[in-house]
């Protein structure tokens, strides 16, 4: 169940982050595109939280996980909780996540856990569109004007330290009981990096050397940003406990 939550948390937090763009996109079409992706991710989070609630039982519902857990209980990658910044930061973050997400789902489609396999087979159709979208924007802005290129490079230089966390197995992912169920995240690293490098090259961006790779999200050790996201996400449940539609 903890593994299912880890997957759900990634989709939930990135979905919430992207939703912040709603009504603020640089142009209408991109506002809509970003919030479409947000919707897909929140949809993915919901089916995973529903699954987690079924496994845990005891009357748990899908809402208990996003609304009633504090920072240290969340298992999402540090990458997804990073602020939107300017549009370039959002695209770089999205592209890194999509490189991981796409290959992760591709591998998860072969999971011995049938429910996870079905969820992967369904959501990869959506993740394929996400990867195509973020790749195109990496290239358009990277290989764009002097200004767009420098903004993309700045975003890449800053966010690269969060990319590799996705491919470093946590204690949980290495657990013997999850063998064949959880994706061996190290095994998808090459494919994800190949796609990442290929697009960065086309975008004429330089992949910076990673001096201080960051990790900890999968163990509940987060950056300061997650608390602020949860404050907004959970406000209603905290002010009016157990309120419902």
């Amino acid at each position: 169940m903890k593994y299912v939550l880890q997957l759900a948390d990634n989709a939930m937090i990135l979905g919430q982050r992207l939703a912040e763009w709603c009504g603020h996109g640089p142009i209408l079409e991109q506002d809509i595109a970003i919030t479409n992706i947000s919707l897909d991710l929140i949809g993915e989070a919901r089916v995973l939280y529903q699954y987690a609630a079924e496994i845990e039982g005891g009357g748990k519902t899908e809402d208990d996980y996003p609304y009633k857990r504090d920072v240290r209980d969340w298992r999402n990658l540090l990458l997804v909780e990073q602020p939107n910044g300017h549009f370039g930061y959002t695209i770089v973050r999205q592209f890194m996540f999509d490189c991981y997400h796409y290959f992760h789902l591709k591998a998860m489609a072969d999971s011995k856990d049938e429910r996870l396999a079905v969820i992967a087979k369904k959501t990869i159709k959506e993740a394929t569109y996400h990867l195509k979208y973020s790749s195109e924007w990496m290239i358009r802005l990277g290989d764009g004007t002097e200004e767009s290129r420098s903004k993309m490079q700045e975003a890449l230089d800053d966010r690269i330290r969060f990319f590799d966390e996705a491919f470093i197995p946590s204690k949980l992912e290495n657990d013997e009981s999850l063998k064949g169920i959880a994706v061996d995240c190290l095994s998808i690293r090459d494919a994800a990096w190949t796609k990442f490098t290929e697009v960065c090259n086309t975008a004429t961006l330089t992949i910076p050397e990673v001096k201080f790779p960051q990790k900890g999200g999968k163990d509940g050790m987060h950056t300061e940003h997650l608390g602020f996201i949860l404050a907004e996400l959970q406000f209603l449940q905290k002010s009016y406990p157990n309120s419902n539609w």
Binding site: E29, A33, N36, I37, K125, T128
Partner: protein
């Protein structure tokens, strides 16, 4: 109540999609049949996109159509398998989409070749011109992309392959 399978089937087949009201849930391919046990009827629906916000509305519409037809004990169950694809949209569904001004999917379901693939030619649903251009991969709903016709200059929605 005397259970009448073909009657139930007919009621369910006629429920329309809230976003694209010209299509029934059967033509869209999301209706996956029903199961009955005593007077309890469980209707199976598979979502288009995982986060499709119309699912709640469809659930309500299915229940109210069934209630109007005299079936009170109805549960709508969302199932992920079989996984919905645009291939499940019927021929009649394709025709109705086009008539409604939404270009139907031009190819079979998405696969990975799409990542590196060329842009498809999507004919304009208004004037049939093949001289069209993609404006945005993400349109008014998750399942549609936004296109523009370079001949009649009308923008239009395209039901993208899934």
């Amino acid at each position: 109540m005397v259970e009448n399978k073909s009657h139930i089937e007919e009621v369910l087949r006629n429920v329309t999609d809230p976003e694209i009201p010209v299509l029934t849930i059967q033509e869209l391919g999301i209706y996956q049949g029903f199961e009955s046990e005593g007077d309890k009827i469980t209707v199976l629906i598979t979502p288009t996109y995982t986060g499709c916000p119309a699912m709640d509305m469809i659930t309500v519409n299915v229940k109210s159509a069934m209630e109007d037809a005299g079936y009170k004990n109805v549960v709508v169950k969302l199932v992920l398998s079989p996984i919905w694809t645009t291939d499940m949209i019927s021929q009649e569904g394709h025709r109705k989409l086009k008539e409604y001004g939404i270009a139907p999917p031009v190819e079979k379901t998405t696969d990975s070749s799409f990542l590196s693939g060329e842009e498809k030619v999507v004919p304009c649903p208004q004037c049939e011109s093949k001289n069209t251009q993609l404006i945005s991969q993400f349109g008014s709903t998750a399942c549609k992309a936004l296109y523009k016709c370079n001949d009649c200059l009308e923008p239009f929605d395209y039901f993208k392959c899934y």
